[in-house]
Point group: C2
Chain length 677, copies 2
């Protein structure tokens, strides 16, 4: 059966031009072309094989990653790839490695917070990989609360040096990727102390290991923090622990300039100066500026969410078309499980979410350029809104993606539990996205704060901007009535949009009202936190829905492409409306009858997705290498390959397993006394 | 700090008698005593160490399990443990092993389906572990649809044998635990064929491996199906693949008697007879009888759900009391994260769910004896209801537990992602419970079928029984009005119960109404499947709530114990009411104002749980060994132990990691050409 496309009948059903959809998914023809080329490059090179990854012990796994990451770098140089290409190549290698943090956090931290001299000194070394850097912020005792970090950097005017020290066990750096075994340098965040005065948390460039023999420098204790969730997955990364015993660094290794701050930014870190005499000079950079880069980083996280979710959806969709169970009549083939309505009701909203997150991610790219442009013109007016919006979208999309991947795994029945399905590893490697770059609940609380502020300022004439602009129409939204009378009415974009706006506005206003009954606002906020989080979620869902609808306003070429996206947009919004109908009903935005009409319309949209489902996941353009899933194979030839894959397990190296003779045989022979237990 | 109880202040806050709660949790003083003794026995024996499990490669891991499982058996014999004790001991060893399927499926299958002679022949061998058995039903191509199995057992009257054969690739047995490497025998399910006629799926005892050298017998291909989700976790089990090439077994190895059927029970399998002449004789055992044991097996699954969930909750609760983040004023300690309302709103419903599942599991034990008693009296009237009820509860509790464990992991922030937190492995080993013993969605569809039947028979005078009895009051439930006027009204059991009954009844009736608009009922059922599943969930949640309320009708001794359980019952039901308020509102069971009063009451219940939270998880009586979590340590001494644990990772064996010299150093030295890539 080699070469047969078992999914060809499915592909023939598609009612749209898949190649054009690929361009829409990629964002542009150019991005598609690069991405496609890099994906094939990686897939065709046996050095990037990853199908054996989940069977390796930690050391072997890690060694393998060192080889791959270095080899990827070699290829990047040999092929003279540009930055965009290199990034794509690394992402298709699909294996967390120390280089991720080097390029993703260390280099940008220096670019953002280093002075010109600092950049001139460090960036060339980093760009050629003569040094390897990581980003050491989180400690054993503090992650979310960055201001609580305990590592100290005490200025010693006698030697013009900072003394970096870990005063407590909980001040040990803990989690930084690439730190455990590989980094030669780190950007370390520590409390700056001059003349006995604590100036809060600042960044410092610290060398950790010798460039000669890779041994930790004096005063430095460093190692790996141990196994993490899943086989393979994030265990290719050396997340590390680091302690300083009075380690001295020159004064010029404090990061002394900044408009940018890359990480965690729940509260902005400080970037200031210390003079030769030990005088602390507060930066005159407006505090808001540091939010700029958060917008950037979070935008990439949202894009990554759509990638991860689409991979899982691609696997589950293809397998659901291959898998048949029940429903055979008189010897006819059984029903493809994708034809069961319950399967559709679980799978298609995730398919729609993948597209929705893609488009909101695309919009965030625009938002970033807009924010940057405004900053350069000293216009800070949209920053708090942009900050809240990206915080919320990071939280919303990563939570939905983590849950969605696991749902895709369950959609594959028993076989989804095998590593060869690719789904367990996809889940395990993805879930920390809900925690890093800001814990998702902590982020939603920030969104809620912004919403409460927006509501409280409504009276004052301050016009809400950007994604909160709808709040400006609060009076209308508080009393408007949904006019849906038949199921198809739910296909009208304005009807959907207004329902989501009304729901979000009413939930925020209700929270604000409840808050106003507390004399102590902060105490009220703490007390009502769970409700506030729900209001924040409603607001964020509105953003995603509205950006999907906006996308559909654009000219989208290709036969049937726009129609498919309209169907998916309908699925996404009506699915949310159904899932959260409690919100819509309790705030009186819609009636129970309208809710049930929405559900009816949703069902009919599922039927419209059905014939296009395989083509809609083909449009992601993933290679079998990247998917890494026997269940998600492009050709649908699942069973022979599952069977073959099984035999590769190390347990199958021998017919009689290790341990049988020592332990089990004596038991079977009723001679347990002879067992070497 | 050795020996200090960091959680002592929390324990002092408790307002109830923890020791008495331990008895309630265990079910009885006797069960508590055995369970406590076995837990300590395992915990104190270094042979049962498991803290290094997640770091081992597959072979080492598996060998280790062979040792532990055999050693456990040795101890069981040495200590002359009775069945209950042995079961507890095995469960505290806390590592899936081939012995699970031997005792849990193979032995019961023979007990249930074997004739007296078969039992006399096989059970003594199995009981002494002179043979090792597994349960081989699922195939590569068929899991849920047992009737679609393809393996054949063709009777050859010439030799008085069955010929067991795998005619297709998809007929390969696939998944049975213990099959891959260990089992000497299996109960194999195959299509019985006599005289060219297919009589459907039946069970056969088949020897797989030689008892001399453990090699597979002629005609048998067998191996492990490869790595599964997670490190450690279920990879200690040799789930296997098995193919038959015309393997012959004597006629008397067909299982020829049955009132019991243990597994998968989506549709009952047949147990009949084949005579010497090859005549097929249908069993005269009433078909319903086979449901009896499903009730038994599923009851243990529900009990296991409460165990798994309570472990995760115990870890997350203790760590939430240890972890502090934000909120320090003038040097005061930061806020314990358990004091954040969002943390409470995520954690406490799971704590309440663990208790709720415990009690419903206990009730299922009663249901099983009740069903058995009735069967013996030829009363089949409650069987369909009992079957639907257990199917639904299996689905509800395993889904909630799988999601709950992952939520507990997220509640621990970054550190929850470390294997040393115990949570990743707990999740990975638990999730297949949503799939095996009946896919959770397929089960809910069965519940829905039963509900639709119940509704359709309401007019006919047939009185609904057991957990569907409330349907008998459907007229009242369709029009009753909730009379809650203030938050505290939601503490009245009858108010809560009626709201849940009305919701469930109205959702079922609405589905039935929609169904009636289809001319083809089956087509209607398929089309409305997603709504039907929601109605089934509503029904199952009602069962859990009502059994919790019934439990509170009992006399429960111990200072404050009953009060705590009342609070937890309130949390469980009002949390559901809030989460599913869309159901309650759309069916008009409650008003938006009442929904918001419920939410208010829920918040105040959280405050009541707070001081008792640690004591409520102490009541599970888990040893640190069993929890296997640094974050969940009884003494709360988290940080030094996390730190110590890290250094045990194999990557920390050497300062400079394997692979550095070959790959990374050449890169740093800009001599990539020298790298051995
Ligand atoms: C795979 C991975 C890679 C990482 N890589 C890096 C890296 O390269 N460099 C680096 O510096 N760090 C890194 N980190 C650390 C990461 O940034 C932190 O784990 C993250 O910020 C969460 O902080 P925490 O662990 O302190 O969570 P905690 O804040 O301790 O969260 C615990 C619980 O408390 C709750 N909570 C906390 N504060 C509040 C509040 N104010 N209100 C309500 N609830 C609250 C949270 O919601 C959560 O439920 C990494 C982590 C992981 C898992
Ligand atoms: C860890 C583990 C251990 C196991 N141990 C054993 C063992 O010891 N012995 C043994 O024999 N087997 C064992 N199994 C197999 C297990 O019983 C099956 O995997 C399980 O029954 C699910 O069947 P499936 O894999 O065919 O799922 P499928 O039925 O293929 O499910 C795929 C999807 O289709 C959907 N679906 C299927 N039918 C319908 C329908 N009619 N309507 C709507 N949706 C439908 C499901 O909801 C699911 O989303 C084990 C499995 C696992 C994961």
């Amino acid at each position: 059966m080699e070469g047969v496309d078992h999914l060809a009948p499915e592909r023939n059903k598609a009612q749209f031009d898949v190649d054009e959809m690929k361009i829409v998914w990629a964002g542009s023809r150019d991005v598609f072309e690069v991405s496609d080329r890099m994906a094939r490059l990686v897939a065709s090179d046996p050095a990037f094989r990853k199908d054996n990854r989940t069977m390796l012990g930690r050391k072997e796994l890690f060694k393998n990653t060192l080889r791959k990451a270095t080899y990827a770098w070699k290829r990047i140089i040999e092929l003279r790839l540009n930055e965009q290409e290199a990034k794509q190549l690394r992402s298709y290698v699909d294996e967390p490695a120390f280089t991720d943090l080097h390029w993703g956090m260390f280099v940008p931290a220096i670019q953002g917070q280093g002075t010109d001299e600092q950049q001139q000194k460090w960036l060339p070394l980093a760009h050629k990989m003569q040094i390897i850097g990581c980003y050491a912020q989180t400690e054993l005792g503090h992650g979310s609360n960055v201001q609580g970090l305990e590592t100290t950097a005490t200025f010693d005017p006698k030697t013009d040096e900072f003394v970096i020290h870990s005063p407590t066990l909980t001040s040990s750096k803990w989690w930084p990727g690439g730190l455990g075994k590989m980094s030669t340098h780190a950007v370390v965040y520590a409390r700056l102390i001059t003349n006995g005065q604590d100036h809060g948390v600042h960044g410092f460039i610290v060398q950790l290991r010798s460039l000669d023999d890779h041994l930790p420098l004096p005063g430095i204790t460093v190692g790996d923090i141990g196994m993490k969730f899943g086989n393979g997955a994030y265990n290719t990364m050396d997340n590390g622990v680091l302690r300083f015993d009075h380690v001295r660094i020159p004064r010029n290794q404090m990061l002394m300039r900044s408009v940018l701050l890359l990480y965690l930014f729940l509260t902005p870190l400080l970037v200031s100066q210390v003079t030769r005499e030990g005088k602390y000079v507060q930066s005159n950079v407006p505090r808001q500026l540091v939010y700029g880069t958060m917008v950037y980083v979070r935008q990439t996280i949202v894009a990554d969410a759509s990638t991860a979710l689409s991979r899982a959806v691609c696997i589950a969709t293809r397998y659901s078309a291959v898998r048949r169970q029940f429903g055979s009549h008189n010897g006819s083939p059984e029903t493809q499980v994708i034809d069961y309505k319950t399967q559709q009701a679980r799978l298609f909203p995730l398919l729609a979410s993948a597209y929705a997150f893609r488009f909101v991610g695309e919009w965030l790219k625009w938002l970033y350029t807009d924010v940057t442009r405004r900053l350069q013109a000293n216009d800070f007016s949209t920053l708090p809104e942009a900050h809240a919006c990206t915080a919320g979208l990071k939280s919303l999309t990563t939570s939905a993606t983590a849950d969605g991947i696991e749902e895709c795994r369950k959609l594959c029945g028993g076989h989804g539990y095998l590593c060869s399905s690719g789904l367990p590893e996809l889940f395990a490697v993805y879930v920390p996205a809900c925690t890093y770059e800001g814990d998702n609940i902590v982020l939603l609380l920030q969104v809620a704060r912004h919403l409460m502020k927006t509501v409280s300022q409504l009276g004052s004439g301050k016009k809400p901007v950007g994604t909160t602009a709808y709040m400006g129409r609060v009076e209308h939204l508080m009393q408007c009535c949904c006019d849906v009378q038949k199921a198809e009415d739910w296909l009208r974009p304005n009807v959907v949009l207004e329902a989501f706006e009304a729901r979000a506005a009413r939930m925020s206003v209700a929270c604000a009202k409840n808050l106003s009954q507390f004399t102590n606002q902060e105490q009220g906020f703490q007390e009502l936190a769970a409700d506030l989080v729900e209001a924040a979620v409603a607001h964020c869902q509105l953003i995603v829905v509205s950006k999907f609808l906006e996308k559909l306003q654009q000219d989208i070429p290709g036969k049937g492409v726009k129609q498919q996206l309209e169907v998916l947009c309908g699925v996404y919004s009506l699915f949310l409306l159904h899932k959260y109908q409690g919100d819509f009903l309790s705030t009186g935005c819609i009636t129970p009858t309208q809710a049930s009409l929405a559900n009816e319309q949703l069902r009919s949209l599922y039927s419209q997705v059905r014939p296009n489902a395989i083509a809609l996941v083909d449009a992601f353009n993933y290679t079998d290498h990247y998917l890494g899933s026997v269940l998600g194979r492009y050709d649908g030839n699942v069973y022979p390959n599952l069977y073959e894959e099984a035999w590769k397990d190390p347990l199958n190296d021998s017919v009689v397993p290790d341990g049988y003779h020592e332990y089990v045989r004596p038991m079977l022979k009723q001679q347990l006394r002879n067992a070497r237990l």
